[in-house]
């Protein structure tokens, strides 16, 4: 029987209240959202916070809406809500592709978007999806809020730029015309973490790629992104050869490690193949040729 260590428990009723509690307890506290990463880690005693600050009561942080040319996702939005959101799927097919393969339906009922990001597991799917879409994160702290790009959000494995007295509150994704996106993942079995996964967003002007975003997870990509492959694509015609070359560049620039999910060379192969395929999906969607 796995049991977490003794821990104090506080329930936050609002963002302000959560910030007050975070200020009071500092690094001794951990925020409890869906808890589907934190509680397992506490059970293994890999983390032993002195205090949990439960934010599940802050229901104003559960939302998905369109504001101007942005999709805004509250940090406490459950994975299941994102998967069911037609507005999210309409603008960002990548989100539905990714959510369909994150854990399983029961876990998605409780696990949250913000919690997944803040857990910062190097194999996490949404981190790659948001990197591909060049989203930004809103972080609230004692001195107000700040906006950080998805590519600056992670400071390393299991580490983000969210300080001990701060709270991630929202993710913003810019909506630009001519875009298409997708996500593809290979895992050993249903509901598992990826051996490798890739997300892509492209924006087309006719056949020319005006901009591209490529997110990679579980393969040691810097900031979950394949910046070199994106640079290569910008300004080129979206041919299968171009997309395949981008896949190769993405694979050359990531640093997978061998572990029980697979050997490094296989993961590198996946980075190439999945990037190529998902770019094809994104292009097809941008052209309106695929749902």
């Amino acid at each position: 029987m796995q049991v977490p260590a003794q821990v104090e428990y506080e329930r936050a009723g609002s963002v302000e209240h959560a910030l007050t509690l975070l200020a009071r307890y500092g690094p001794a506290a951990r925020v409890l959202a869906g808890g589907h990463s934190l509680i397992p880690m506490m059970k293994l005693r890999l983390v032993q916070p002195e205090v949990l600050i439960d934010i599940n009561g802050i229901t104003d942080l559960c939302y998905i809406n369109l504001t101007g040319a942005q999709l805004r996702i509250g940090a406490l939005t459950r994975h299941a809500q994102l998967l069911e959101s037609s507005v999210a799927g309409e603008h960002f097919a990548i989100l539905h592709d990714a959510e369909r393969v994150i854990a399983d339906p029961i876990v998605r009922n409780w696990g949250t978007v913000g919690g997944s990001l803040c857990q910062a597991d190097p194999s996490e799917d949404l981190s790659a999806a948001f990197a591909a879409m060049k989203g930004t994160m809103i972080i609230h702290g004692p001195d107000g809020s700040r906006e950080v790009s998805a590519r600056e959000f992670h400071a390393g494995p299991y580490e983000t730029v969210v300080g001990p007295s701060e709270l991630l509150t929202e993710i913003r994704l810019p909506i630009r015309p001519g875009g298409g996106s997708g996500y593809r993942k290979v895992s050993r079995r249903a509901g598992d973490w990826p051996v490798g996964a890739a997300g892509a967003a492209v924006w087309l002007d006719g056949d020319v790629i005006t901009d591209a975003g490529i997110g990679l997870t579980a393969v040691g990509a810097t900031h979950f992104a394949a910046a070199e492959a994106e640079d290569f694509l910008r300004g080129r015609t979206a041919t299968p050869q171009t997309l395949a070359r981008a896949g190769e560049i993405a694979a050359e620039n990531c640093r997978p490690v061998s572990d029980q999910r697979g050997p490094a060379d296989y993961k590198r192969h996946l980075a190439c193949e999945l990037t190529t395929r998902v770019l094809g999906v994104a292009v097809a969607r941008a052209r309106g040729l695929m749902a």
Partner: protein
């Protein structure tokens, strides 16, 4: 495990853990929570670290909820909290304060099995039965939302629940059987 009657028929429950002397909190904190389980109101005094699965199995003695993996994988511990399926090995008991829990014991009435239970019997949806309570509650959450699911939708909804015995075919048939029965029972509109 000690139990003693609390005020007004409530139950104060304590679960004894080994002290590994590596505790993060200096004190042993306690919280009093109120919740409903299968329609009955309860009060419990719990350590914040107590897992919902342990509250249900050891505290409430509702051992129909099983724990298999203890790691959020198998789904044997699935219960409903406010109608939503959750793996109770991965939720803290304090988090159900003010909420409603439904376990497999709440499915049948005194005289009749729930259509899901009948379905599992009719279609041979279980062998050892270890996964069955979790399967039935995950299925209940599905049917409450979608009374007429396709086979694919049933498979999808049960994809967080593992079965070591049946190969899933008969579990899926059982859920479809129950869905048909529930629809036949529902008042026509």
């Amino acid at each position: 495990m000690q139990r003693r009657a609390g005020g007004k028929g409530g139950l104060i429950m304590t679960i004894v853990y080994s002290d590994r002397e590596d505790e993060a909190a200096a004190q042993v904190p306690m919280r009093r929570i109120k919740f409903t389980v299968n329609g009955e109101k309860k009060i419990a005094e719990v350590e914040p670290r107590l897992l919902l699965a342990h509250l249900i199995r050891q505290g409430l003695r509702l051992t129909g909820t099983h724990t298999g993996c203890d790691t959020t994988n198998c789904g044997a511990c699935t219960v409903l909290v406010d109608g939503q399926a959750v793996k109770s090995c991965t939720m803290l008991a304090v988090q159900v304060d003010g909420h409603e829990i439904q376990t497999v014991e709440g499915l049948a009435s005194a005289s009749e099995l729930h259509p899901l239970q009948e379905g599992f019997r009719e279609e041979h949806g279980l062998q050892c039965g270890f996964c069955t309570p979790g399967m039935m509650l995950a299925a209940k959450a599905l049917l409450d939302r979608n009374p007429d699911p396709t086979e694919e939708e049933v498979r999808w909804a049960l994809s967080g629940n593992l079965c070591r015995c049946t190969g899933y075919q008969n579990i899926v048939k059982s859920v479809l059987w129950a869905a048909a029965k529930l629809r036949a029972q529902a008042p026509a509109d």
